[in-house]
């Protein structure tokens, strides 16, 4: 992470600070980030600002990215794994305008990757930062909607509610019914929402060499998983966590290991499957 300059550098939007946020706000967010890194998985409240994009479009991720990005960074933005989804394009263009940073679609070339709903297929390395957009930071919210109460449950490490939910799923359906936003235990202490990534991506979070930062703008929470930190998906010894994917291969690159999007091709049941990670898919095709 390189330090941001105090003044707007050339090539950025006139009248706005580098990366849009003023330096005081960035410092406030960096303090929250430091605390989050020091207490992995713990949700740190922060003075989230109103952004020029709506809540729900990634305002938390954008504020985190704006606070850690410097002029020498290279930014990649994905939504649903793809660089060319409209919201990814829109956010990438926002940072190109307000920070003038280089952008890329190649996972390996990026220093900061902002994502919504996926972790790239290409393994991340030390020095990279993965910024997740988080709609609902509280992993217990469906079981206990009261924020004041869930904060108490986290403080006491009282996660019986979530275990009961998993138990009930198995008792009723034979398996855990959560397929995305699958709750994880971070560093053996805090229950954490991995954001709505498919459960397929959960194992990538465990002991990841890159720094993982999570920003929830509307809910005004930041949390983090430092490099090489244990991230365990909740399960039972005799019903181990099983990440799922469509049992098919990518129609473009043929991959049988990646997470696939299903595309309906006609109204007679015709469908094909494609890599959700467009960069990974394109590289596999280029290598052939």
């Amino acid at each position: 992470m390189s330090a941001a300059p105090e003044v707007a550098s050339g090539g950025t939007l006139a009248g706005y600070n580098f990366a849009y946020l003023d330096e005081d706000t960035k410092r406030m967010i960096r303090r929250a980030l430091l605390k989050a890194v020091a207490v992995p998985g713990h949700q740190v409240p922060f003075g989230s600002r109103e952004m020029p994009l709506p809540y729900g479009w990634g305002t938390g991720g954008i504020q985190v990215t704006a606070s850690v990005i410097g002029p020498d960074d290279t930014l990649k933005v994905i939504d649903q794994g793809a660089d060319d989804t409209t919201n990814a394009v829109s956010i990438r263009r926002f940072f190109a305008r307000v920070a003038g940073v280089a952008t890329t679609e190649r996972t390996a070339d990026a220093t900061v990757i902002q994502t919504r709903h996926r972790i790239p297929e290409t393994p991340l390395r030390e020095g990279q930062i993965l910024v997740y957009q988080v709609p609902m930071p509280e992993p217990l919210f469906r079981l206990e909607p009261r924020v004041a109460e869930t904060r108490r449950l986290h403080a006491l490490g009282d996660y019986g509610l979530m275990h009961v939910k998993l138990y009930e799923d198995i008792a009723r359906r034979g398996e855990v019914e959560i397929s995305y936003n699958y709750p994880v235990m971070v560093n053996g202490r805090y229950l954490m929402s991995p954001s709505p990534i498919p459960a397929f991506d959960n194992p990538k979070m465990d002991r990841m060499p890159a720094l993982q930062l999570f920003g929830a703008g509307r809910e005004k929470r930041i949390y983090a998983v430092p490099p090489y930190t244990s991230v365990r998906s909740l399960d039972f010894e005799d019903h181990p966590f099983r990440p799922g994917r469509a049992d098919a291969s990518c129609a473009l690159c043929g991959s049988r290991e990646t997470y696939l999007d299903e595309v309906v091709t006609d109204d007679r049941g015709g469908r094909r499957f494609l890599c959700s990670d467009t960069d990974y898919c394109a590289e596999r095709r280029a290598d052939r």
Binding site: E50, T86, V147, E175, S179, R218, A246
Partner: protein, 364 residues
């Protein structure tokens, strides 16, 4: 391939924006609305956008309304996003609404009172008949308006009159710096200054519904409009380098003080308590709703039974902001196909397992 269409990209966004701009402008044969026209002739819309946008700036609110094609929540959002980038020079001293230059002032609790009742520019006694004369684009000649009687005579606040008699619960005075919702995240339990801030910015429709619910038994309110006043108040700041307050301008606000029954408690005799609402501009409906909800949210501190939605602090404060609410509701239209795909696979797997079980049972 058909699926490329859903992966829009830069050109699609550009085209959408161009189309939006054309739709905003409407028929180019008609003259464009000027921001000044909106400011003058859509003044209550401007007031609402300033209140929910939490920024007192009439020309900018009018611009936001024009840009948002009249979508007032979108306009409030535009104003908020602008506001958040502004430098903060300081905070004003508390507004003295007692010294308001009153344009409208009514009390439902006293027939007459010092300062008098001033109807002002109100819809209250209009007959809601469409005025087809307004359909003409040209101004009709209007009879001259009599010179306003609302003079600068002192209009003491009704709650103050009750307090003199010891019938109105005193508000605890405090010199503590109030929290700032726009800088710090909301913490529950929130103190009253924070609650009132949230309500002042809150969505008029949401607060109206909640206030209404307290009248229908969900919260057991017995409200009287002690006083509703609207007019100009001076804004003063006291820069530390000066050491005294200086006036920096006037703003129009609407203030509502609801007088509510209170049964008294172990330590206090029965008396009236106050529900308070203050909003930017002329926003009577909202000020009244805020005052009802403010009083409902005091249930716990007053030792009353807490059970109704309007008394539930976390529920009210977390859901009253329309910029937050619209974002989270509307974000559902963003692509969720990765999540949905995982749900599809999960559902198929569970159904397949159930079918296998059923076949095995049938075979046994």
């Amino acid at each position: 391939m058909a699926y490329v269409a859903v992966k829009g990209g830069e050109r699609a966004i550009g085209n959408a924006h161009a189309w939006l701009d054309e739709a905003r402008r409407g028929d180019p044969a008609l003259p464009a609305l000027s921001v000044r026209q909106i400011e003058e002739q859509m003044s209550l819309a401007v007031d609402r956008v300033m209140a929910e946008g939490a920024c007192y700036d009439r020309p900018l609110a009018a611009l936001a309304i024009k840009q948002a094609r009249g979508d007032l929540i979108e306009a409030a959002f535009l104003l908020r996003a602008y506001r958040t980038t502004l430098p903060r020079f300081g905070a004003s001293t508390p507004l003295d609404t007692g010294a308001m230059r009153v344009r409208r002032r009514v009390s439902a609790t006293y027939k007459d009172l010092p300062g008098g009742q001033v109807l002002g520019p109100t819809f209250d006694y209009t007959h809601r008949l469409l005025d087809f004369a307004l359909a003409a684009d040209e101004d009709m000649p209007r009879p001259p308006m009599p010179e306003a009687q609302a003079d600068s005579a002192v209009a003491p606040r009704v709650t103050g009159l009750l307090a003199q008699e010891g019938l109105m619960a005193a508000e605890p005075a405090s010199d503590a710096e109030p929290g700032d919702l726009t800088r710090e995240p909301l913490e529950i339990p929130a103190d009253r200054p924070l609650r009132l801030q949230a309500l002042a910015r809150g969505d008029e429709g949401f607060l109206l519904g909640l206030g209404y619910s307290t009248q229908r038994g969900y919260g057991n309110a017995h409200p009287f409009v002690g006083e509703l006043r609207m007019g100009e108040v001076a804004v003063e700041i006291a820069p530390p380098e000066l050491g005294f307050a200086v006036e920096i301008g006037d703003i129009v606000v609407t203030e509502c003080q609801m007088v509510n029954q209170f049964a008294g408690s172990r330590n206090e005799p029965p008396q009236f308590t106050r529900g308070y609402g203050l909003v930017f501009g002329q926003g009577e409906r909202k000020a009244m709703a805020v005052a009802l909800v403010d009083r409902a949210l005091r249930a716990r501190e007053l030792g009353e039974e807490v059970g109704a939605p309007a008394q539930d602090e976390e529920f009210v404060l977390y859901h009253c902001d329309n910029v937050e609410a619209t974002g989270f509701v509307e974000h559902l239209k963003l692509p969720h196909y990765v999540d949905f795909q995982s749900e599809l696979e999960k559902l198929r797997a569970i159904r397949a397992a159930a079918a296998t079980d059923a076949r095995r049972e049938a075979a046994e």
